[in-house]
Amino acid sequence: MDIWITGGAWVSAGGHGRLSEGRKPLIVPGPAIIPPAKEVFTRPHSRYGRFDRFTTLGCAAVALTLKDAGHEEGFTEPVGMVVSTTYDVLETDMAYYQTTLDQGGTLSSPNLFSYTLPVIVLGECAVLFRLTGPTFCVGNQGGLGSFALNNAVSMLASGKASKMLAGWIDSPPPDMSENGHKISGSIFVLLDPNPSRVLPYASRIRYEKGILSYENNAIPSLENLFTPAET
């Protein structure tokens, strides 16, 4: 089965970018720089500034990905989304629980509590772009987002969606680090087995017998999909 990567985008401490720009994501340690709403959305989005950081990172990369793929208005067919994450929404969990500490929990923030699951970014993107296919989060084994990519492709192969978004999001609390680095950011791609048109920067991956490959190589990370295939 051949699947086209018709759009992609990333947000990190190194800035943000899109597949169509033809350069690999600049994933560097440090807090991700959130792009302003006017660069992300084609029309004003009143809630973007009120999301928690995890959801903001995800929504920004998804919106830029769909802009890249020419689907910024969303979908009418079943399109799903799979997200890989290591830290879940631990940063939001910490922030929410602080609101429960005074007056026996009577001042707990319902708004912050709503964002204490990583699936909330799926819900926000589903509402924004009319994603009605399979949506779930998985761990981040291997390279950034590779596990989400595998699961998203399997949904396409099972016939449960016509297109899938696959991505990685992490926003660890500032006081945490892994291997001495604090990597926060997001990367997304849109997977389409039957694109109506193939843009010049689109990549093509192959799924055979449960194995994914790109130009006959394994795909260790979503970052690897940001180099256009040589034709």
Partner: protein, 372 residues
């Protein structure tokens, strides 16, 4: 495509430390919902939950403690079984202790839990984790079924545990999603959900492993569906669109017409919106046909991530016994639940049962089980 069998199921709920104990208490209409003593609720408007007796935060990780009780019940499983962890708030104890100035509780993220399960069972790989809110273990079983059907692996253990924590209790309290008393799924006067402790481990295998294990399958998992409402981050779509899609996808894959479905174990939280959405979806898929549906949440509370796996263990037992257990707390069913949900047992032929869960983020998932 390989057939997928449910070969073992172990659960721990506030009703009992096994499927047998929980099933017996469910049939008797017992509710484990009572005033919470695990943490203080005196300043809040809500006070009840379904907690496993003796399970209290101390120096140990109580999610691991609860999960261990379920794992101990499992029969031996193949060494190459893949673990899918589906607990969703296993970091709560760490977050609570850190915010309280305590430093005693190590951080356990989902990847730590699945590694812990794999090592405890002596498995060759460390598995992976799924988070789809309250549909997590339902989605986990769907993914496990796909992996087995496609021949990617021969057995998958879908497991998870979540506990009634101050973190989740204050949150649902702030959202005003809790019932002031015992929750009453599908009742006309339902007024919110109750949280409950729960752990579950469900072993799915291909036919070869099923034959090798030799214990006789509990059920066949014949279809699954996952879909999003695309409506709201915490509330269900009134028209039930996501659940309808998930159910239709599961039925289509199973090759079962809606007319052939004999019983249904939906999410049934007892919140006005969830149960209304489920009845709307049910009428959309099944029309006016009446067949048994039941919710276990009036008895064991809402167990969050493992809810789907806990309820699958019960649903499969219900199918094999041909008995839909009483929906505890249900006294006066709302109009569309009349002739479907009851506060008493309902017999059914026991050839198949549909299971679904819905959750935050617009997530919906459905599984179709048939007698093996």
């Amino acid at each position: 495509m390989n057939e997928v069998f449910v070969m073992d199921a172990a659960i721990v709920t506030a009703l009992g430390g096994s499927v047998d104990a929980t099933w017996t208490a469910l049939r008797a209409g017992v509710s484990a919902v009572r005033p919470i003593t695990r943490f203080q609720t005196d300043r809040l408007e809500f006070h009840d939950g379904a907690c496993v007796e003796g399970l209290a935060p101390g120096g140990e990780n109580i999610v691991c403690a609860l999960m261990a009780m379920a794992l101990e019940q499992l029969k031996p499983i193949p060494n190459d079984t893949r673990v899918i962890w589906t607990g969703i708030k296993g970091d709560a104890q760490h977050v609570e202790s850190k915010a309280g100035g305590g430093g005693g509780m190590d951080l356990f993220l989902p990847n730590h839990y699945r590694q812990w399960v794999s090592r405890r069972l002596g498995l060759a790989n460390e598995g992976w984790e799924v988070n789809a809110a309250c549909t997590s273990s339902t989605v986990g079983m769907a993914i496990g079924a796909r992996m087995i059907a496609d021949g990617e692996c021969s057995s998958v253990l879908v497991c998870g545990a979540d506990t009634v924590s101050r973190f989740t209790f204050t949150g649902f309290s702030a959202l005003r999603g809790l019932s002031p008393g015992k929750c009453r799924p599908f009742d006309a006067a339902r007024d919110g959900l109750c949280l409950g402790d729960g752990a579950a481990a469900v072993l799915l295998t291909d036919p070869q492993i099923a034959k090798r294990l030799g214990s006789g399958p509990l059920a066949k998992l014949t279809g699954w569906g996952i879909a999003n409402d695309a409506n709201h981050i915490t509330g269900p779509a009134k028209n039930g669109s996501g659940l309808i899609s998930a159910i239709n996808s599961a039925l289509g894959q199973a090759g079962i017409s809606p007319d052939a479905v004999e019983a249904f174990c939906p999410h049934g939280t007892g919140t006005p919106y969830n149960d209304a959405m489920e009845l709307t979806a049910l009428e959309s898929v099944f029309g006016s046909r009446r067949f048994p549906l039941f919710s276990v949440k009036g008895s064991i509370g809402h167990t969050l991530g493992p809810a789907g796996a806990v309820e699958t263990a019960i649903a499969v037992r219900a199918m094999n016994e041909g008995i839909a257990p009483p929906t505890a707390g249900l006294i006066n069913p709302e109009e569309r639940a009349v002739g479907r949900a009851r506060g008493a047992e309902q017999p059914f032929p026991g050839n198949n049962i549909l299971k679904s869960n819905s959750g935050f983020g617009g997530c919906n998932a459905a599984l179709m089980f048939e007698r093996a």
